[in-house]
Symmetry: C2
Subunit: 219 residues, 2 copies
């Protein structure tokens, strides 16, 4: 008598996880996510996917969720923890640009709430007065997601290999110097800058603002 494998163990059985994983692989591979292509890779018809996933929007959200993992927030100094947190998000989006676009678009996603929560706890640990906690955490989150969106768009629109600074510099060279004097001025500085370092400097700026406001409210 043959013992039937439980469906969870059958290698060819479809599952939500298997679908999401395949979607992530497809998006990471640079292809557009399509139910037909996804179905073909999973060796089914497109209709089969709908048994496990409500629609494309939900699948995209689940894929982004899968890729921005809860890495344990490091203990210790809250300012250091916030920087680490921000860099983790930056690196995850750098590795999966499509997820960045997704986060910037669907702010009520569980992923975003999770990031917000982790930021907020460190803001509390920082000793920010209660009235300013929401504003402070929001500012950091918005900055992170803003950069995420930008970075994602840049990564997706530029041939891989070229650096963002090169593009910005090239673009700024063609600008009317009278109208875009500032942009042209700083474009030169871009050459030695690194997106990641730049991103972190912005986080530090916001942290400095939080510290300054805290100092004021205490006195």
């Amino acid at each position: 008598m043959v013992i039937k494998a439980r469906s969870g163990e059958r290698e060819d059985a479809l599952s939500r996880k298997k679908i999401v994983d395949a979607a992530v692989a497809m998006l990471d591979g640079g292809s557009e996510l399509t139910f037909r292509a996804l179905a073909a890779q999973l060796r089914t018809g497109p209709g089969a996917i709908y048994w496990h996933v409500a629609n494309k929007s939900e699948l995209l959200a689940a894929a982004a969720d899968a890729v921005i993992e809860d890495t344990e927030s490091p203990a210790g100094e809250p300012e250091r923890a916030l920087r680490t947190l921000a860099l983790e998000v930056f690196d995850a989006i750098d590795a999966h640009p499509w997820a960045g676009a997704q986060l910037a678009r669907l702010p009520s996603q569980p992923t975003v709430l999770r990031i917000f929560e982790r930021i907020g706890r460190q803001v509390q640990a920082l000793g920010v007065p209660e009235t300013d906690q929401f504003t402070s955490a929001s500012a950091i989150l918005n900055y992170v997601l803003g950069v995420a969106g930008q970075h994602a768009a840049q990564r997706q629109s530029i041939e891989p290999g070229t650096r963002r600074s090169e593009v910005l510099e090239a673009a700024s060279t063609n600008l009317d110097p009278r109208v875009y004097s500032f942009t042209r001025d700083v474009a030169g500085q871009l050459r030695e800058h690194d997106d990641r370092v730049q991103f972190l400097a912005g986080v530090d700026l916001i942290l400095e603002g939080i510290a300054a406001k805290k100092a004021k409210s205490v006195s």
Copy 2:
């Protein structure tokens, strides 16, 4: 002999401007932008639009450009000017949520460069040391675009009339209090908050950070 009107004066003549205007009207009306629907409204075939516009992406960019106007940056105190600038962008996106999504997605758009330039000039006027100018202007821009994207997504996904705070509060009530302690804590504060005020408070936070950093580098 009949004098032929120049094509620019013919009422029914198609033009890039007329197409972009119709696209803006459609998007503001809450409909999805479609070449077929757009053509129908302009009483042509979809192919006609391609004579004036390269593709949908360009049309979307042009529509966003048309809606985020260069209102003259106010002279005077640079900190005040930056706040006004930020609020102008916020209000424009509040009025045209689809444009917010567009800006967050296509950072190399002329519109974004223009905003960046205007921010940068005020940062210079603020007396920020040269090395920090790019970082400071980027932080503000990223914050503004980040909020823009969030706000746009929220406005598009929520039934008009309901306030964002209500949604966030309702969502947070269903969260596991152990996992989302911070979010639940601040969700209560949301009731009396206003997105616009909240947005401005974040801008002030960054401005405070810039001021603090400047003070440090001087001493």
